[in-house]
Amino acid sequence: MSRRTLVVGEVRQGHLADVSLEAAGRAIELTEPTAVVGFVAGSGAEAAAGEFARVGIADVRWTDAGSGSDASAGRIAPTVAALAREIEADLVIVGGTTFGRDLAGALAIRWDAVSATGVTDVRREAGAIHVRRPVFGGRATETRRLAGPRVVLALRPHAFAVPSVTPTTVRTSGFAFVEPAPSWREAKLLALEPAAAGGGPALADASIVVSGGRGVRAPENFRLVEELAASLGAAVGASRAVTDAGWRPGTFQVGQTGKAVSPQLYIAVGISGAIQHLVGMVSSRVIVAINSDPSAPIFRVADYGIVGDLFQIVPALTAEIRRVRGP
């Protein structure tokens, strides 16, 4: 007998995030569409709930997350657990963002489940879920068998495509918010400062990242990197040499003490490739390095390299991309 799968969605700027649609797509492949239930919480949840229709999920529950308007993972974990019990789910899937990872840990305890995060592949076989996930900063991959009866998965953002299926008609219904531990009452979300266009925290989520290093030499030259990123619709990253020098804020930093990214394409401009930088980006699918030093270690992990002066190469590259992609 097939049990149900619950997809916990995330609302961003009033819409269901792409990672949530990716999670929904995975859920449908692991279960029949009719056995998948969607869920969203927080302000705008009711409107966003309807967007599950895009990926063929017809049964969606939502909650406004009680009196407080924030739907941070720890606050809504008890509600998700209650819903999972009510619909008799054996699997909960979520996009592996800040929200998704925080939720996975809290939900696994609340719902007494086993969990894996950063999942890049998943199959159901002989009553168990098998997941593949990068470990050691992308330097290795592990496969784990998660025997039920309850499993929580947080998928690596963009490891799976948003499915293209025939939209259905959605039936949305409210679900009662379950209060978290009383001490949550004093936890206050004061502000959300939106990500700077093209850079900042959107990094972890981007499918193309262009990062600049000390090779750009001065803060004003960093716009070369930003223009290249803009031509590709990419997020902007930086090495720690750049963030330490204050050329760009710390939120841009990629690496061991910054963000780990794994986009489809990573372009490193004037970055030497220190191990602490590499652990943050080596699991990118395709890596391009532009560096004037042919012996720079970045070329050992790159797929394609251009040895040259970034001040000449980068503007030419930006112009060529604009030419082929149109303005």
Binding site: G74, F99, D102, A106, A116, P134, T143, L189, V324
Partner: protein, 258 residues
């Protein structure tokens, strides 16, 4: 302020990873385990708060086998942690982070704690599950991906930022809380030789493991990527030619954009 910081022994960043004979896990033979990555930042953050708030105590706690776990606890003491507790478990046992979280929670429940600090994710399994799980198990608010954690003494609450996909959140919350730390205010300090020598004689308190169910997560396969053979270098005479060649490759061979 009573600060508990959770540290996990992980292989040194430079370790050449090898697959164990069973093909399912890392071959730990000869691997050097250290206090590293986000846990180093968590210890740094604990010490910064201790320096900022008079009368604070930092208690390092670790779960794992001998001798590596004792070694990372001594490293934490050498950096300035006041106390260290070790939950010894046999090597080759469960490596499920949720088992670790359940056992750590059972131990931390018995310790004074206004703040429990974890790394955002461990340098080996990178699961990022433990902080959220600990918070739920302790019945207190928990937050991952935190940067810039401060104590607002006038208002008796923590203030911090955290990175989310759509931007940066600012929060305030009184203790006790659990934090998965991405970055401290400062770079992690290094231990001085006299402190390292002294840490060798420090008392490490043993705590018995309790609280974990039989794990249902079993490792099946551990794989290393085919070694990258080095970049395919693009030959060119002019920057324009380099750009054209790269764009053609990215569209036609690598297919990363249309």
């Amino acid at each position: 302020m009573e600060i508990v910081v959770c540290v996990k022994p992980v292989p040194e960043a430079e370790t050449r990873l090898r697959v164990a004979a069973d093909g399912a896990r890392l071959d730990a033979e000869g691997v050097k385990f250290v206090l590293a990555g986000y846990d180093e930042s968590a210890v740094e953050q604990a010490l910064l708060l201790k320096e900022a708030v008079a009368g604070s105590t930092v208690h390092a706690i670790a779960l794992g086998p001998a001798p590596r776990t004792e070694e990372v606890l001594r490293a934490a003491v050498a950096l300035g942690c006041d106390k260290a507790s070790w939950i010894e478990v046999p090597s080759g046992g469960s490596d499920d982070p949720l088992d670790a979280a359940r056992i750590l929670a059972a131990a931390i429940r018995g310790l004074p704690h206004d703040l429990v600090l974890c790394g955002k994710q461990a340098g080996d399994d990178e699961s990022g599950l433990v902080a959220g799980a600990l918070a739920e198990a302790l019945g207190v608010p928990g937050f991952g991906y935190v940067v810039d954690l401060r104590w607002d003494a006038a208002r008796s609450r923590f203030t911090f930022h955290r990175a989310v996909e759509s931007g940066q959140e600012s929060w305030e919350c009184p203790g006790p809380i659990v934090i998965g730390l991405q970055q401290a205010w400062n770079d992690p300090r290094t231990a001085k030789l006299p402190a390292i020598l002294k840490s060798r004689k420090a008392t490490i308190t043993k705590i018995a493991a309790s609280g974990a169910a039989a794990s249902v997560a079993t490792p099946e396969k551990f794989e290393l990527p085919a070694p990258r053979t080095g970049a395919k270098m693009i030959e060119y005479r002019t920057p324009q030619e380099a750009a054209e060649k790269l764009v053609r490759i990215l569209r036609e061979d690598a297919k990363v954009f249309p």
